[in-house]
Subunit: 586 residues, 2 copies
């Protein structure tokens, strides 16, 4: 059987930066060619970054992507890489789409192209467009109706894009009909908890359906609320895992494959035939000649991370990328002495370095001594820049000017802290981090323009019970590495409090977090109804109270900064209750 | 030809409040029956309100909608309305959908039902699902595959839902095949500028395609960022406009029609036939017998509003509904003396009454005397509650605690004002209004957590040049009515300034608003690229500067409160650039 050395380039593109992304493709192709790769593959829409959202509807952006693709093909050849076959995702447009109301403006397509010998050899577009969860691709793209097959050194390589692998029928079915020797899938597949297990199973199953080996290349890095976890992998036609890249790190995964020779008679299919789900096969040949036999090199297979390590890795990657891609070198947060801000400080130090983290303790007359001590302790453990700004003078100035009592006075304190952080941020150029967790966010237990200020909210998708668990994991990890645990034990063990009035505890307003998080899991993650949650054994009055909080907190959630998504049901732009929302049957 | 008196109930449902919406249907059916109507029609999803967004994915909500529909049918009969044929939109689910990844959870459908004699006679679901602009229906609904035809007093009435009318093919084509005598379309069609003209032309065209009269019923009122403008109408098979309801007001539009008798042979079609675009016809009979001949009553045809009156009506309706549906009786805003806050105050007074509007002037050391005078003048003209809170003591308290200069100090002043407004709001229960306009929002010319605070932003979709135009219109309207113009002439004519530093003018940071709004119109509304805008005659450096502002202001725009949409390209949840957005070709 012909051999092929494939290189999966698990890289981190930047949305919109066509020039930088093209540079990356050239640099990584050079690396891959240097290691003898015949075929180098890059992720979905690597040239534009992913997802581009409304940029897809701007025709000047689509044209820029197309120009960049052509220029890239020429540049690769110019740099002596013309003999390497390079597969890149980019943004194209459909030239045959019929205009109609609701057709995405300019008929954009999420496309993939094969570059060789200075030119674009073949191209095709994503057939299955996801429009659920974080995806809105029916808004942005026209579906493709072709299966592209490119012959590389005597092997037929079929191309597909991300969702094409997840949906039944379509390209995978067509691959079998086309009799390809390898299915190459380019992906922009966002992280969610334990997705790596699902992904391997899926790749194995589709490989069996397609009847050939399958190579899966994914991006890494973050884009707004999404983190891409990499986890690129290759399985043989028999389902055997042949190589796998780590999560959250750039990697050039090189795998040597023995693949069936392309059929030289035309009986299997005729190009132009509609073979499955309305797909037409298009074919191009880079080379009919197999490579000279060579000694295969062993491929690397990265070890899986534990669930906790994986979550922590996603949080660090999400913050690091958001800060860097938005031009921030340093971050700023309020340190209350509580667990949320301590964990965010630890994540921040791992993301941008402790020397680039600025913590401000902003005590009020209600702040306990242990809060001030724990805040200082956190700062010292992490090695971050620390200062204290007592808020009494500002709070008193407001209270002299307007009468504020009760909740209005509580919120005032949070807003004085928010304004102080934003002032320092505007003065010194730090990215402000909001430190709220998912349980608070679900229930609206935060102050608009107070603790909710910031440009990014690293743990907004972590329920409070998971905040504790991940904090313990991070401290244990430090001990394993012989380092100082970053999070004060006291911040982990003491009862949570907002300290906005004397002796206030979270438990005055919210149920015990163990119970609350269970109810929230049923309601938010599982979409269970009220009666089903009560039937699962929770107190009916408590369930009603929690559901009412969740249903009416939508406005606050929408105003919260973006943060790394950990679960499919993260609160964000893809999850939206109406603000005006009076669910009531009778 | 048989006669039929139809009643289009142009009403204002509340999202989620099934009980209240069902009460409205009963009350309006009673009114219609009292006026002799044979067929009463309500808007799209009137039972649940529209749009329900993620509530559609909660199966307990879908079941509640189904139960409410059945109970409504029984209740109508119980209240002596069983002989009236009632058409209502509601939320259903598809019982035959095949589970697959990405299928909306629970397979919800945007459905319509005919109620008669205490039961549901027939039902069908929306076939064409819009997924562009403000619509995300591929996320939420499974498309319907039936055309429902109900025989009422010897006339075949076909049913369709909103987008079914806007798209070619599908239900409209099937109506002709079915040989129906009337096409009844239920709608939740949001306002946009001059849509009423488009709508009448569309209804006429579809009526000709369907080969029958067409009755179009739309909702009124507001839901979050959407305003529904009503404009229900009826055209005859010849395209003649037979009756039309006003915009932005509830109305029972009653029209007497002479309609072709339903065919008594079965040659036209057989129920169960697939007739067009995969649609199956389903049929039910309420009554074969035509009504006794009666003297038709003249139908009313509302006069069209001028463009300016229409925009102003949408703004007032949007704010009134948002406040009322979120439980606010009063609104609060900062009065700067400038045109934006003066116009918002006028809109607010028209929406909730001047006595329920609270204006706060918050002068700083940079505030001019004319600003303070104009703010007080606005308050007096409108008859709102007015107070002054100088911000110097709070600003000084921050400046003593942290070093803030330049833009950081400018933003501080805006944030002290925001915190002051939010404090008063929390204390007294008012809805805070943000007063920014679309030009500012496009360019990010506002302060996060400063002038951007609030629960609603009435003029966020009005470009600055339109702010002036609509202000002048409102003043002229007052003179026409013999009332005091609400907006001080000086606020309209003076150069705009944020007054955050000595002698600051908007023109220090932004181009002349006439030019800026033209460039923004090209870029935002028309989606033109940079080169095309330059080719249209604008200075290239200026275009680059404006486009850069728009591309990088996404974070601020996302944090801005919701506001009434006037144009298709309003900034909101349906328009989204990536936050991390480095569009650069080379």
């Amino acid at each position: 059987m012909p051999q092929l050395r494939i290189a999966l380039s698990q890289i981190n593109p930047t949305v919109g930066d066509l020039a930088r992304n093209a540079d990356l493709v050239v640099a990584w192709t050079k690396r891959a060619a240097g290691r003898g790769a015949h075929l180098v593959a890059f992720p979905e829409m690597v040239l534009t970054g992913y997802p581009v959202e409304d940029l897809a509807l701007r025709s000047s952006f689509v044209e820029a992507s197309r120009r960049t693709l052509d220029a890239l093909a020429a540049r690769l050849a110019g740099e002596g890489l013309g003999e390497t076959t390079v597969v890149v995702g980019y943004l194209d447009r459909c030239e045959t789409a019929t205009p109609r109301l609701g057709l995405p403006a300019g008929a954009p397509q999420n496309a993939v192209a094969v570059l060789h010998g200075g030119r674009v050899v073949i191209r095709s577009a994503k057939h299955h467009l996801p429009n659920y969860g974080v995806f809105d691709e029916f808004r942005y793209f026209v579906p493709g109706d072709k299966l592209a097959v490119v012959r590389v050194h005597g092997v037929d390589v079929a191309l597909a894009i991300c969702e094409d692998l997840w949906q039944d029928g379509g390209p995978v079915a067509a691959v079998r009909a086309a009799g390809a020797g390898l299915l190459l899938v380019v992906n922009g597949s966002p992280y969610e908890l334990a997705k790596d297990d699902v992904r391997l199973e899926l790749v194995r199953r589709r490989s069996a359906e397609a009847g050939c080996a399958l190579a899966y290349v994914n991006m890494v890095g973050g884009q707004d609320e999404l983190v891409f976890d990499g986890d690129s992998l290759v399985v043989g036609a028999d389902g055997e895992l042949l190589g796998r890249a780590p999560q959250f790190e750039e990697e050039l995964l090189i795998v040597d494959l023995d693949l069936p020779a392309a059929s030289t008679d035309d009986s299997a299919y005729n190009p132009g035939d509609v073979v499955a789900d309305g797909l037409t096969i298009v074919q191009a040949t880079v080379s009919d000649t197999p490579v000279e036999p060579y000694e295969p090199a062993p491929a690397s297979t990265a070890e899986r991370l534990s669930d906790d390590a994986e979550i922590y890795g996603a949080l660090v990657s999400g913050l690091r990328n958001y800060a860097a891609k938005n031009g921030f070198r340093s971050v700023l947060l309020g340190l209350s002495g509580g667990i949320d801000s301590a964990l965010v400080a630890a994540i921040a130090a791992d993301a941008v370095g402790g020397a680039n983290v600025y913590g401000v303790s902003m005590p009020s007359k209600y702040s306990s001594d242990h809060s001030k001590d724990d805040a200082a302790d956190t700062a010292e453990r992490i090695g971050l820049n620390y200062r204290q700004v007592p808020i009494a003078p500002m709070v008193d100035a407001y209270l002299d000017a307007v009468k504020l009592t009760g909740v209005a006075e509580e919120n005032l304190q949070a807003r004085v802290r928010g304004t102080t952080l934003m002032g320092i941020s505007n003065q010194d150029g730090h990215l402000v981090l909001a430190t709220g967790n998912k349980s608070e966010l679900a229930c609206g237990y935060s102050t608009l323009y107070g603790d909710a200020v910031g440009g990014f909210a690293p743990i907004k998708d972590l329920p409070k019970t998971l905040v504790w668990r991940i904090s313990r994991w991070r401290n244990e990890e430090a001990l394993r590495r012989g380092e100082t645990p970053p999070i004060p034990e006291n911040s982990i063990t003491k009862p949570p409090s907002a300290e906005l009035r004397p002796d206030q505890k979270d438990s005055d307003s919210l149920p015990d977090y163990e119970i609350l998080d269970d109810i929230l899991d049923d309601y938010v993650e599982q979409d269970m109804g009220r009666d089903a949650i009560v039937a699962a054994g929770f107190d009916a009055a408590l369930v009603d109270r929690v559901l009412k909080l969740v249903d009416t907190a939508e406005y606050k959630r929408r105003q919260y900064p973006p943060g790394t998504k950990i679960s499919l049901k993260a609160f964000g732009r893809d999850r939206r209750l109406p603000i005006t929302n009076h669910w009531r049957e009778g």
